[in-house]
């Protein structure tokens, strides 16, 4: 998903003014994927929401100290959201691969069992038990069930998390934090993404899909 354009940036203007403009657009972009992404079938919208959360988080993690205190909180909340939706995305990516492998092994085993039957007038049911991958199906089915159930559970957590963000006034409070800019230019500092900056997270180090 391409990021939405941020208009009226001034490269020779003050850093703080430009960053506030970027955060504002990224916030709007994130919120714009709801309520569509609240539909469990809308996998693409959810994926795009995750990317939008990531972009918001990146810019907040860089410059949260320069704005009101809620900016740092919002960075953590954006990360939490991104991580959770990333776990759902992992299920969405892995599940079709497991299904495809199951289908492939079934096809191959059916062909093999047919071969074993040779010129028989009908298939001996006992031959099916000797299918090359007979022992593998149970584990793959278990994995399939695990991924489906986990996806459903995590999606419920996502909805809860989003509603909690709304209840807490995430958007309004972050917009307010952008206006609470420090008057001391020394406070406008980007230190690092992790640990020695203002946002005590290990930021971009998660394995959530990029």
């Amino acid at each position: 998903m391409k990021p939405r354009k941020v208009k009226h940036l001034d490269p020779d203007g003050l850093l703080a003014d430009n960053v506030a403009r970027i955060v504002s657009v990224r916030l709007d972009e994130l919120c714009g994927f709801m309520p569509q992404a609240a539909d469990p079938q809308e996998v693409t919208a959810l994926h795009d929401l995750r990317i939008a959360a990531k972009r918001l988080r990146y810019v907040l993690e860089l410059f949260a100290p320069s704005f009101g205190p809620y900016a740092a909180t919002a960075a953590k909340k954006a990360r939490k959201l991104q991580d959770l939706v990333g776990e759902i995305h992992d299920c969405d990516v892995t599940l079709p691969r497991v299904e495809a492998l199951l289908a492939e092994l079934r096809e191959r085993d059916a062909a093999e069992v047919r071969q074993l039957a040779g010129d028989a007038t009908d298939l001996d049911a006992a031959l099916a038990a000797g299918a090359p991958h007979a022992a593998s199906f149970r584990g793959l089915e278990s994995l399939d069930i695990y991924l489906r159930a986990r996806r459903d559970l995590l999606f419920e957590r996502f909805l809860e998390q989003w509603h909690e963000l709304e209840r807490q006034g995430f958007r309004t409070r972050l917009e307010f934090a952008l206006a609470e800019r420090s008057s001391d230019p020394e406070d406008f500092t980007s230190r690092s993404h992790d640990g020695n900056g203002a946002v005590p997270t290990d930021d971009l180090a998660s394995d959530a899909p990029a």
Partner: protein, 165 residues
């Protein structure tokens, strides 16, 4: 996981352009410092560290896009994305295998053959990912990505204020 460095000197008196140069320069150095040994599948943290550093570089390139010459920035960002994709092609199977192994430990014995079959598929992806990464690292050298990033942050640019961040 390697920690990101401070980006020294950034404060509210700087322009967006000046801050962008500082940020990209620091983050780019971190990427190339982590390039050693990433093809070693026995030490999967190396590829993780370089991937994290690449994400950080990509993040600042995207945030500060308007601070740079449009064509140079676009070319650098494209190559950083390619490198990031290649690192992901290696790292994702590493992570999937670790997760599958953890899951397998809590599943009954009867499920193990099926989980092993899936793990074998992921190992094929891992080997393919290593080839993809090797090619991407070679391309990064041949296209002198490090030198182009240095040129990007050194070059004075008259960016169009209307363009995207």
């Amino acid at each position: 996981m390697a920690k990101a460095r401070d980006i020294p000197g950034i404060d509210g008196r700087m322009t967006f352009r000046e801050a962008g140069r500082e940020a990209v320069a620091v983050r780019a150095r971190e990427v190339f410092e982590h390039a050693g040994g990433v093809l070693d599948t026995d030490d999967i943290e190396r590829v993780h560290d370089m991937r994290v550093a690449t994400r950080r570089l990509r993040a600042v390139l995207e945030v500060f896009e308007a601070a740079f010459d449009r064509a140079e920035h676009r070319a650098v960002l494209r190559d950083v994305k390619r490198l990031a994709d290649a690192l992901g092609a290696r790292r994702d199977p590493d992570v999937q295998l670790a997760a599958l192994e953890a899951l397998a430990r809590s599943m009954p014995e009867e499920d193990q053959p099926g989980l092993d079959v899936f793990a074998q598929r992921i190992r094929v992806d891992q080997a393919q990912g290593n080839l993809t990464l090797a090619a991407a690292l070679q391309a990064t050298k041949e296209h002198d990505l490090a030198g182009r990033v240095r040129a990007l942050v050194a070059a004075p640019a008259d960016a169009d204020p209307e363009r995207a961040a």
